[in-house]
């Protein structure tokens, strides 16, 4: 139990006061000669059981009354039955808000979202606790920001909902940095979250470091999690899988692929999908059975007068989570499919030239420029979407040029040279070649996202049919996308710079069957080209999050064209909508992981904070109870009840005594 004035508890030994008074009273006995011993002996024999029990009950009630008074003066706080942690008023409180779309799920009555409930409860709790300072942390980059009072947690725009996923480990890390650098005293970290796995990233290696760092802090730090893990009942999420502008004769049309998903397999329902493009609105019914339904290649004719560039939304009727009922998209004439190939090995160069030069659409053109390693300075980088590199990793001016290309949004896929050098790019360098006899096939690969993800029809790429005869080691900070037996990475992307991918083997016949089984290599390269074109095109789709923020920070200011108003202007890239920056359109939406995110279990959450002063309070959206409230009234009531009980137990003595005297008639003869 927590007390606002814990020093009052020093008076708890006063609980023994009734006992001491009783003992002192016992010592003050008188001695008298007595004749009627037979009555005394009889009374003593009768009093052994009940009287002794009553005696101790009275004593216990008196002690309880004293204890209740002391505890009431100590201003006890209730933090819910599951989170009775020790401690008093903290010096500072750091609030970490999970503002992700899943936190906007509402209670069945639709009155309040999880985020609103959590913020309200946090404000009530902080106003009750009265910490010296209140820090609000919504962004790991900015870290904790001091706010004028607890009420700011609900009032500040930067505490409102966003479309981006939260990064709880990063938020905790920033809180730790703040505590360490500012030497804060007793600190309470209040995390308001729905424990979604994509926000908490329980597999992130940073958790171990965070635990150790907090454990080593000299200050007392308590971590309180206000959790809303319950899934949004009956919630549907709409997502646009792809938007393609096609020209048919003189007309243009949009080809849109839309998916609607839900967390559990509910009953079969028909959802109206509402497409809004400019002033035109079309509604298409989509029958949903199971967890997901996909409307593929839905064609929406565009007005002739309209230009090739535009934006629109697709939405579904309101449900328990309004944050995933709308999806924004922007479209434009696609950027040219232009690729750059740098390859030492002619056979490899030939293969790469082929897979990059064959466009997936029959009417689309694709160009491939083959460069020499030293000729980068003369390359036309501006409209290139991808760079396929099979040579020693670039160094010096070449590396700078490639890095600039990647930072502009281009994609690079590196293949190992015959003679790897120690040079590194994006934190990764080539290791040594390793031969595999017999040939091996990739054992695992990421099917949910990135270059090797499943197709839109949920079909897996045939990586298992590949034969890798020789592979080169990938050393450095890279995230494997496909691995050979023994967890040897085959395809990996750099953790340092987005858009840089390493393939540990080459399409040459001596190295692998990438060329023979060309599907995998073709999908990999074409997806990289698409990514590069997406960035290079004047219409771009972005997931809300740090990447979008970085884009917003690097270019002209964003102007909102569509989407919910509100949100801090400093948080461009975190809110959903369609924005215009310069002559480009950018549609920002929630990350795909938000749609199917499930809550990590309480045991797993507890394990993340093992060894730390951690407590968890589980609530539901719309809960009206405060998570921290003063309960001194309950103790006063307990004291009153104890006194009443003590009085009732003591009461029967006097009437009995009077009855005894009244029943005796001294002057009357009985016989």
């Amino acid at each position: 139990m927590t007390f606002l004035q814990p020093w009052v508890l020093a008076a708890l030994p006063l609980v023994a006061l009734p006992l001491i008074i009783h003992l002192i009273n016992q010592r003050r006995f008188q001695t008298i000669p007595w004749a009627a011993m037979m009555f005394l002996l009889s009374a003593r024999a009768l009093s052994r059981g009940y009287s002794r029990l009553r005696h101790w009950l009275i004593m216990a009630l008196r002690m309880l009354a004293v204890a209740a008074v002391i505890l009431a003066v100590g201003r006890p706080l209730s933090r819910g039955w599951l989170a009775l942690a020790g401690g008093g008023r903290p010096d500072s409180a750091i609030v970490l808000l999970d503002r992700s779309p899943s936190m906007q799920a509402r209670d069945p009555d639709g009155r309040e979202s999880k985020l609103d409930t959590g913020r309200r409860q946090l404000v009530e709790s902080l106003e009750t606790l009265g910490p010296g300072r209140v820090m609000l942390t919504t962004d790991a980059v900015r870290g904790p920001v001091e706010v004028p009072g607890a009420a700011a947690v609900t009032e500040l725009a930067t505490a409102g909902p966003v479309a981006a996923a939260a990064d709880i480990p990063a938020l905790l890390q920033s809180a730790y940095e703040y505590i360490r650098e500012n030497g804060a005293g007793t600190t309470e970290i209040w995390i308001c979250s729905d424990q979604r796995a994509n926000d908490w990233r329980p597999d992130d290696g940073a958790w171990g470091g965070i635990r150790d760092a907090f454990a080593k802090l000299p200050q007392q730090v308590r971590i309180q999690l206000v959790s809303f893990p319950a899934p949004a009942a009956g919630n549907f999420a709409v997502r646009v899988g792809g938007v393609r502008l096609e020209t048919v004769g003189r007309d243009r049309q949009l080809v849109v692929t839309v998916s609607v998903s839900r967390l559990d397999e509910g009953p079969r329902v028909t959802l109206p999908l509402t497409f809004e493009i400019g002033a035109a609105t079309t509604v298409v019914n989509l029958e949903v059975s199971g967890r997901e339904a996909v409307l593929r290649n839905h064609v929406i004719p565009l007005e002739r007068a309209a230009g090739p560039r535009g934006f629109g939304t697709v939405s579904i009727p309101a449900d328990s989570d309004p944050a995933d009922n709308e999806f924004f998209f922007a479209y434009d004439e696609p950027a040219p499919r232009r690729s750059l190939v740098v390859a030492d090995d002619p056979a490899v160069r030939r293969v790469l030239e082929l897979v990059a030069g064959i466009a997936p659409e029959k009417e689309a053109s694709a160009t491939v420029d083959v460069l020499a390693a030293g000729g980068l300075a003369t390359a036309a980088w501006d409209d290139a979407a991808v760079l396929l590199w099979q040579a020693a990793l670039p160094e010096g001016p070449d590396a700078d040029a490639v890095r600039a290309f990647v930072e502009r949004g281009g994609q690079v896929v590196f293949f190992p040279p015959d003679a790897p050098t120690p040079a590194a790019f994006a934190g990764v360098s080539w290791g040594q070649w390793t031969g595999h006899a017999p040939a091996v096939a990739p054992e695992s690969w990421r099917t949910d996202q990135d270059l090797l993800a499943n197709t839109l029809a949920s079909g897996a790429l045939p990586l298992g049919e590949l034969e890798v005869r020789r592979s080169c080691g990938i050393a450095g900070d890279a995230v494997p996308l496909a691995s050979l037996p023994g967890a040897v990475p085959l395809v990996a992307r750099s953790s340092e710079i987005e858009g840089v991918t390493f393939c540990a083997t080459t399409p040459a016949a001596r190295d692998s069957s990438l060329a023979d089984e060309g599907i995998v290599l073709y999908a990999l390269v074409q997806r990289a080209i698409d990514r590069g074109r997406t960035v290079l095109g004047s219409a771009r789709q972005l997931d809300a999050g740090p990447a979008a923020v970085a884009v917003a920070a690097s270019g002209p200011a964003w102007t909102r064209l569509a989407g919910p108003v509100g949100g801090a202007s400093t948080e461009a890239g975190l809110h959903a909508g369609v924005f215009q920056t310069g002559d480009r359109l950018i549609a920002v939406n929630r990350p795909a992981a938000e749609d199917g995110a499930v809550a990590i279990g309480d045991d797993r959450t507890d394990a993340l904070f093992r060894g730390l002063a951690f407590s968890r309070i589980t609530g539901r959206a719309g809960d009206s109870d405060s998570i921290v409230q003063e309960i001194w009234r309950a103790f006063l009531i307990a004291m009153l009840l104890a006194l009443v009980g003590e009085g009732l137990l003591s009461l029967p003595r006097k009437p009995a005594q009077n009855a005894g005297v009244a029943g005796f008639r001294p002057a009357g003869a009985a016989a």
């Binding site: 016992q26 008298i32 011993m37 005394l40 029943g663 003869a669 016989a671």
Partner: protein, 303 residues
């Protein structure tokens, strides 16, 4: 009366003068040695007609009722009641508990005054008076005598008696029931702190021996009220173990025990026809003695 003119603290002449107005009578016929004012079980020569009886040879012809013979032609003898004296046996409890008194007087003081008054009244009307002081046994005893000199001895005993020791009243009463040869008025002056069942047995025994049993039950108001407020160590005045108790805790049960005891006593004295008088040390003893005398005077005529 007071031949030696020795002042007795327990005798108050004014009280005795007031009490002398009511005679001390027995509730049952007494077998006395001389003529007196108490009914006798035998026929005698008093002026009070008793009954007619058929003449049998040997009867005194002077008692033949000639008028009855004239009316019925049969011989009847006219019989009259006999009057005799009584034997007053005072049984004075001198156990340690009689020394208790929360006020100015103790129970033994009141017992002395009651016993002294009854002795004086009985002696004044020519009855024999004896006294027995009892505690663990018979401490001291004087057999009933009619002489004024004997009364002085009784007063001496009352003067000298010191309460001490435990009580074995029922056993002593049984002993008296066996040892008092003739019918007597047995007056018990005691706090009766004994087992009611044992007392009932003793009373019945005395009743069986045709004694007229009376009891003055002496109680102190403090023994009834038991209104102590502090933890108290109670020392047994009859030599038993001391008891430490918080009166506040046990008062209720103490009162229940007293009530049960008094209810038992009431039942016992009704069953054994004991002339029972409950007396507290706070009330004037004269009232208790007067109640005793008046009650008996009202019942005169029983034989």
């Amino acid at each position: 009366m007071f031949t030696d003119r020795q002042p007795r603290s327990f005798l108050e002449p004014q009280v005795l003068a007031r009490l002398s107005a009511v005679p001390l009578l027995a509730r049952r016929p007494m077998v006395g040695s001389v003529s007196g004012r108490h009914a006798s079980p035998h026929r005698g020569s008093s002026v009070e007609f008793a009954e007619y009886r058929k003449y049998v040879p040997g009867d005194d012809l002077r008692r033949l009722d000639w008028r009855a013979f004239g009316r019925s032609d049969r011989h009847y003898v006219k019989e009259y009641e006999a009057d005799t004296n009584l034997r007053l046996c005072l049984v004075l409890d001198t156990s340690g508990s009689m020394n208790f008194g929360s006020g100015e007087v103790t129970k033994i003081d009141v017992a002395r005054r009651i016993s002294g008054a009854l002795s004086y009244l009985a002696s004044q009307q020519g009855d024999a008076v004896g006294i027995s002081c009892v505690a663990d046994g018979i401490v001291r005893t004087l057999p009933p005598r009619r002489s004024p000199a004997h009364l002085r001895l009784v007063f001496d005993v009352l003067d000298e008696v010191k309460p001490a020791g435990p009580t074995r009243l029922p056993e002593v009463l049984h002993e008296f029931a066996e040892t008092i040869r003739q019918r007597a008025v047995v007056v018990i002056v005691s706090d009766l702190f004994s087992d009611p069942a044992a007392l009932a047995s003793a009373f019945s025994h005395l009743r069986f021996r045709r004694h007229d049993v009376a009891a003055f039950h002496l109680l102190d108001p403090q023994e009834i009220a038991f209104d102590f407020q502090r933890p108290t160590r109670f020392l047994d005045m009859e030599g038993g173990a001391a008891i430490f108790a918080d009166p506040i805790d046990i008062a209720e049960r103490y009162h229940r025990a007293v009530e049960a005891y008094l209810a038992d006593m009431k039942r016992i004295v009704l069953e054994s026809a004991v002339d029972y008088h409950r007396v507290t040390t706070a009330e004037p003893y004269e009232q208790a003695v007067a109640r005793f005398l008046v009650g008996r005077a009202a019942g005169r005529g029983l034989r």
